[in-house]
């Protein structure tokens, strides 16, 4: 299962479509529910991304903030997350799973212990949104040693010089932030501009799998389908919020939404 992220991209490429990546918050709204949601959508995903909730999520907009808040209110802890990953992997051993979080939670737990736990529970990749390059060099190395893909972020404001350095030290997957914003706002840049930025990255190193995330919704997803991968997060979290508000089952509603999103890019 060592290269399952790489495989996911390979399969998508063979089918001439971008890899589809979901983002939900682990523990939203409860531990069981979040696992049920992930299980129910996993057949439509190429890669699953789970957020580690933090109560000071400075990169996140309202939707993911709400999800994180619900998860924390219902008592999720880091060890629960590892257990849930293990459970998920038991039923879907070949589906890659990425954890996304803030460095504080990892730092508090201890880097080595955290990575060991990730490895033991079957985590394939990590995004640490506020541990930027080059401060993440050692942590990324530690990930690689343990066969975990550390996913570097590239922002719209990243200079070409810095981009080259980041790409050089990146693993098999790179996350490109679509537009200057927190998660979940409307795209500030035109699709054309986003694709242009994407092509700049790809030109530097065509073999890297570059995914685009932030602000991708039902409306915008198909126009970005030339990318190696696309991440949808806030739109899904918003659906969970909506379902809970209307006392509907978030599991069925989220599956429907994810199916719709996927159909737009195949």
């Amino acid at each position: 299962m060592k290269n399952s992220i790489k495989n996911a991209f390979k399969i998508a490429k063979k089918e001439n479509r971008p890899a589809f990546i979901s983002y939900t918050v682990c523990g939203d709204n409860t531990k069981d529910k979040s696992l049920q949601i992930l299980n129910s959508i996993s057949n439509d995903l190429d890669i699953a991304e789970w957020g580690i909730p933090h109560n000071c999520p400075t990169a996140d907009g309202k939707d993911i903030q709400n999800s994180s808040y619900r998860a924390l209110q219902n008592g999720i802890k880091l060890n629960d997350i590892f257990n849930l990953v293990k459970k998920f992997k038991k039923t879907k051993p070949s589906k890659p799973i990425i954890l996304m979080g803030y460095y504080q939670i990892i730092f508090n737990y201890g880097e080595r212990k955290f990575i060991q736990k990730c490895k033991a529970s079957g985590v394939d990749g990590l995004i640490v949104v506020d541990l930027s390059f080059p401060d993440n060099k050692n942590f990324a190395k530690l990930c690689k040693k343990n066969s975990i893909c550390f996913i570097q972020l590239i922002a719209p404001t990243t200079t070409i010089k810095r981009m080259k350095e980041i790409i050089k030290s990146s693993h098999e997957m790179i996350y490109m932030i679509s537009t200057i914003s927190t998660t979940g706002s409307a795209l500030k840049y035109s699709i054309k501009r986003i694709i242009k930025n994407y092509n700049v990255i790809k030109k530097i190193k065509p073999s890297k799998n570059v995914v685009i995330g932030f602000g991708i919704t039902e409306k915008t997803i198909s126009s970005l389908r030339s990318a190696d991968g696309l991440v949808v997060g806030s739109a899904i979290c918003r659906e969970i919020t909506r379902s809970l508000k209307h006392r509907q089952n978030p599991v069925t509603n989220v599956s429907k939404l994810v199916r719709k999103l996927r159909n737009k890019i195949i």
């Binding site: 109560n55 996140d60 504080q104 730092f107 737990y109 914003s181």
Partner: protein
């Protein structure tokens, strides 16, 4: 900004406590009523110089917000101030001031509804608008450059104090410099010129609010708002909620620069409760003409604790870094009166 802020001896308080000489560096006399005036002005200048038309800042007690609003108005910048809803209601006079100066006050209703959430929300706004907006972080916190902008701006306080001390004493006497610590911006400004002195010569004492006291209660290092710092957290590493009557001190983290001063042993940190700060305010305003806000009242509390244990030739200087009128309502609620 009204020139040099005054430095004077508090004769009545010194006599009353019967120990060390007590001196006041009355930074609250500045145009803008607090040290935040320096920092807000410098941020507005940077914004102007970089060709940006918008400036965004966070505020707890409203002192930074008020000063940023003023500076922005003067320099023709559009200003947004992020403030927790709890702080908006308890620091109403400053909120009114911001509105009057033409700033937009953005209420932040997430989490504890105080400064920590206002800082997060302001950073989110900046991330989404960094092409036309300058981020003015309200204290010596956040990523590297922001705390430098802040601490170097407020250091005007210690540059003045050094001169004033030499004028009064003919030299830099053996000193204790007492300052309240929220994020830590006023203390860094008050101490800056004295950090290179031996601590037996110039002792630096920081006073936190009792239930927002990462430096004096052995909190762990945590990563918050883009920097490693001493910060109150729970076992899982989540940022803890704080409690202080003083909006400016109601913050779980502390400046990384204070972390450095703590680790190197250069400064020492203690704390004072709401009750102690109120008692200090009561005594100071009974004996002297100054009217500190709740924030420096914490520093005064430590001064009152310390002075009787010291000798006549010991010199205590307290940074009276904010004017009390913004807390008038709170003082009346808590003490039953606000002195004239």
């Amino acid at each position: 900004m009204g020139g040099e802020t005054p430095f004077f001896k508090l004769e009545n308080l010194t006599k009353h406590l019967g120990g060390a000489q007590i001196w006041c560096k009355d930074v609250s006399a500045i145009n803008g009523d607090a040290h935040k005036a320096y920092h807000a002005t410098v941020n507005a200048l940077i914004c102007k110089e970089s060709g940006k038309r918008y400036i965004a800042g966070d505020t707890g007690a409203g002192m930074f917000g008020k000063n940023l609003a003023m500076a922005a108005k003067k320099m023709n910048l559009k200003c947004k101030i992020f403030m927790g809803t709890k702080d908006i209601s308890r620091q109403a006079p400053n909120v009114k001031f911001m509105h009057d100066a033409g700033a937009e006050v953005v209420p932040v209703d997430s989490g504890s509804k105080t400064l920590v959430d206002a800082v997060s929300e302001c950073m989110r706004h900046y991330v989404s608008n960094c092409d036309n907006t300058h981020l003015a972080v309200g204290s010596a916190i956040g990523c590297n450059i922001f705390l430098k902008i802040c601490a170097w701006s407020t250091s005007q306080i210690s540059r003045e104090l050094k001169k004033q001390l030499i004028k009064e004493f003919g030299e830099i006497p053996k000193l204790k410099l007492i300052n309240v610590i929220g994020g830590g911006s006023s203390a860094l400004g008050f101490w800056n010129e004295f950090i290179d002195f031996d601590k037996k010569h110039v002792e630096l004492i920081g006073v936190e609010a009792k239930y927002a006291a990462p430096l004096s209660t052995n909190a762990k290092v945590a990563i918050l708002h883009g920097a490693a710092q001493y910060c109150l957290t729970d076992k899982e590493g989540q940022i803890a909620e704080t409690h202080s009557l003083s909006a400016g001190l109601d913050y779980p983290g502390s400046s990384p620069l204070h972390g450095l001063l703590k680790d190197s042993g250069r400064a020492r940190y203690t704390n004072a409760s709401d009750k102690e700060a109120l008692a200090a305010f009561k005594l100071i305003t009974k004996l002297e003409d100054i009217r500190p806000s709740l924030e420096p009242a914490h520093a005064w509390s430590e001064c009152i604790r310390l002075a009787p244990k010291l000798k006549k030739n010991d010199v205590l200087v307290v940074n009276n870094c904010g004017k009390g009128y913004k807390d008038k309502k709170i003082f009346i609620e808590q003490l039953g009166y606000y002195p004239k």
